[in-house]
Amino acid sequence: MDQKALIEQVAIPILQVLIAVAVVPLLILYLQLVERKVLGFMQVRLAPRRVGWHGLLQPIADAVKLMTKEDTIPAKADRFLFTLAPIVTVAPALAALAVIPIAGTPFEVLGYQVRPWISDLNIGIVYLLAISSLGIYGIILGGWSSNSKYSMLGALRSSAQMISYEVPLGFALIGVMMLAGSASTVSIVEAQRSSGWWYVLPQIVGFFCYFISAVAETNRVPFDLPEAESELVAGFHTEYSGMKFALFFLAEYTNMIVVSSIVTIAFFGGWLRPFPNVEALSWVENGWVFATPLVLGAFLGWLAGQRLGSLNPMIVGGALGALLGFGIAVADPGGIASMQVPVLSGAFWFTLKVSFFLFAYIWFRGTYPRYRYDQLMQLGWKWLIPLSVGNVIVTGLVMLLVGRP
């Protein structure tokens, strides 16, 4: 193996892993701020505003607080397992990021080829399912080793829930793998490009099964029974504090990002842009040409509006920015708009889609009450599993009769 191949195949992936492990927690801190802001907006209140400008430094303050907080271990807890549990939970969540491609085409940096994913496993989806079901060990160990009754109940609920919902989760993705003829995350998106439609259309049942199960799998509202604060105080992490608690927290949000990414990849065409055949829309391909002036304009307008106490300048600024973006895209000065930066545009669409599903998570949280334990099991076993299995059978029959789309 020559030096170039060594760098491309070993050094760059290692660098990518380091970047992912460093960037994702930071991203999660801000995802959490976004969640608080969106919830605050839905709940007619202000959300964090004190630390930094409009609370922008709040996540940093939270992180510092969690890191410096006393890390208590209950006297009768199993110290080894108690410490191990958060690590066991967070490691698989981060490991799942390895097979998530954020854009389609490799690009060159300093002559070396960089791929916008860490690894393109040919069993990527199976790997994701396998690794994400490992996280449950951390939860059950954490709940059990705390030696607290509430933690124990939370851990039991969580394990029952995650085991039940793993089944429809897997079945829902089988339909996609059948259509794509591959389990690799990159090939699934490529198959959606060549087949000409996103798999959400032929696999609409699979999509709903997957997304509902995925929300349950990540223990989020309305399936947040393991940490139902009104019943079990804080569920399996009742006894945790400081950095150990932060790791559980990190795992939950990483799982949210992973799940949203899988939905995007498997059902919504990953980094592909919508309507690739519509030429009139092709300037959107370089989303940033359009989005940057829009966001900038809206932001400046909003700043001005703060002084006036009105939101109108924001709308005007956004509209002006959009016009400017549109103008650049149409007039194309110096070929800037038609300049193809596939990695950027791919990442733009991918981020946009993932953000939508992350928003949906927060939206659920602002809307729904919590399921009861037995109702949750009923939903899983009586509805989602039959539906997802039926979806696999119907997909298979149609493919047998019509051929692969």
Binding site: Q43, V44, K149, L153, V221, E231, Y368, R370, Y371, Q375
Partner: protein, 365 residues
């Protein structure tokens, strides 16, 4: 091969959804409740005993501390009891203003119930919506008597003062916006499948059981028993108002929810009538400076947001009562909790506690 055993778990007194300092000892088989024993008394302050060493006027602030989320109902009941003992005639304007205050208090109390009940079931947004409206009412109370929680709003014989200028317009404004706000809560809950699943058929209390346990207020009416003190034993001119008493049919948590939601509407209706027909005149009867009711005893009941609130006073003719006894609806309704939770799940317990709407200050006194 496996050894299974029942688990005893302590819910409270420090627990997010036992609504104060209620402690429940639960015997659990998995998540199912085998036995439940409520333990009360963590908020006992001996108000009844304290009252024996206070003059009649000094007891009213103590009644604020009983049911601290519906203090005006307590004020109304206590003042009514002393007035009945003294045989005082209350001016009609004072009576009407008292009705407006009591019904606003009912709305505020039910809003607190709705928000916390929904929060217990995991729907956190409703909580913020209801507190937004409760805030308007608390502002109205603050404008009227200067306090937001423990009002000491009435005086024996009427009110301390008339309402401030423009107060009735503010109440009217609230009545105008409130139906739209109620729709917001109902959109989030009334037909929500998860909410229905959590409340329908949960914590069923039959009419016979409800009567046998002495349950009163919305839980009793949700079981289908038509008993409302405002209709049965009208006080403070309630007999002059038109309103319906909403009834449930199943006696489950969902019916209790529906009954309270309808009560919110009926309260608005009562306030509207009271504002339309507000009489002029004095707000306080001629009351001697030192209140010395004649020797004797009196029992007076009012319909507080939680149920039948009774006041029993024994007077020996002195300036302090010989014995005071409060019939606390929370205390009586709470006794039906183990019955309602029998064979339920842990998650049902919080739903049922929320639907009884207990206030431990009222329960422990």
């Amino acid at each position: 091969m496996f050894r299974t055993e029942e688990m005893e778990i302590n819910m409270g007194p420090q627990h997010p959804s036992t609504h104060g300092v209620l402690r429940l000892k639960l015997q659990l088989d998995g998540e199912q409740i085998k036995e439940m024993r409520p333990v009360i008394g963590y908020l006992h302050r001996g108000v009844e005993k304290l009252s024996e060493h206070r003059t009649y006027a000094m007891i009213e602030p103590l009644t604020d501390r009983l049911d601290y989320v519906a203090a005006i109902s307590e004020n109304l009941g206590y003042c009514g009891a002393v007035e009945k003992l003294m045989g005082l005639q209350i001016p009609p304007r004072a009576q009407s203003i008292r009705v407006v205050l009591a019904e606003l208090q009912r709305i505020a109390s039910h809003l607190l119930w709705l928000g916390t009940h929904a929060l217990d079931l995991g729907a956190m947004t409703v909580f913020f919506y209801t507190f937004r409206e409760r805030e308007i009412i608390l502002d109205l109370f603050e404008a009227f008597c200067g306090a937001r929680l423990t009002y000491n709003s009435m005086r024996i014989g009427g009110l301390l003062e008339d309402v401030p200028r423009g107060w009735f317009e503010r109440v009217r404004h609230f009545l105008k916006i409130f139906p739209g706000r109620m729709k917001e809560y109902e959109d989030l809950l009334t037909v929500n499948r998860i909410f229905l699943g959590r409340t329908k058929g949960v914590g069923v209390l039959s009419a016979a059981d409800a009567i046998a346990y002495g349950v009163s207020g919305p839980p009793l009416r949700a079981s289908g028993v038509n008993y409302d003190v405002r209709k049965a034993l009208p006080y403070s001119s309630y007999d002059q108002f038109e309103f319906d008493v909403p009834l449930g049919s199943h006696g489950d948590t969902y019916d209790r929810y529906l009954v309270r939601m309808e009560e919110l509407r009926q309260s608005c209706r009562i306030i509207r009538q009271a504002l339309d027909r507000m009489p002029d005149g004095e707000v306080r009867a001629k009351v001697p400076k030192y209140i010395k009711p004649p020797a004797g005893e009196v029992y007076h009941v009012v319909e507080s947001p939680r149920g039948e609130q009774g006041f029993y006073i024994v007077s020996t003719g002195g300036e302090m009562p010989y014995r005071v006894r409060f019939r606390a609806p929370s205390f009586v309704n709470l006794q039906a909790l183990p019955l309602m939770c029998r064979a339920g799940l842990v998650a049902d317990v919080v739903a049922v506690i929320g639907s009884i709407d207990i206030v431990l200050g009222d329960c422990d006194r």
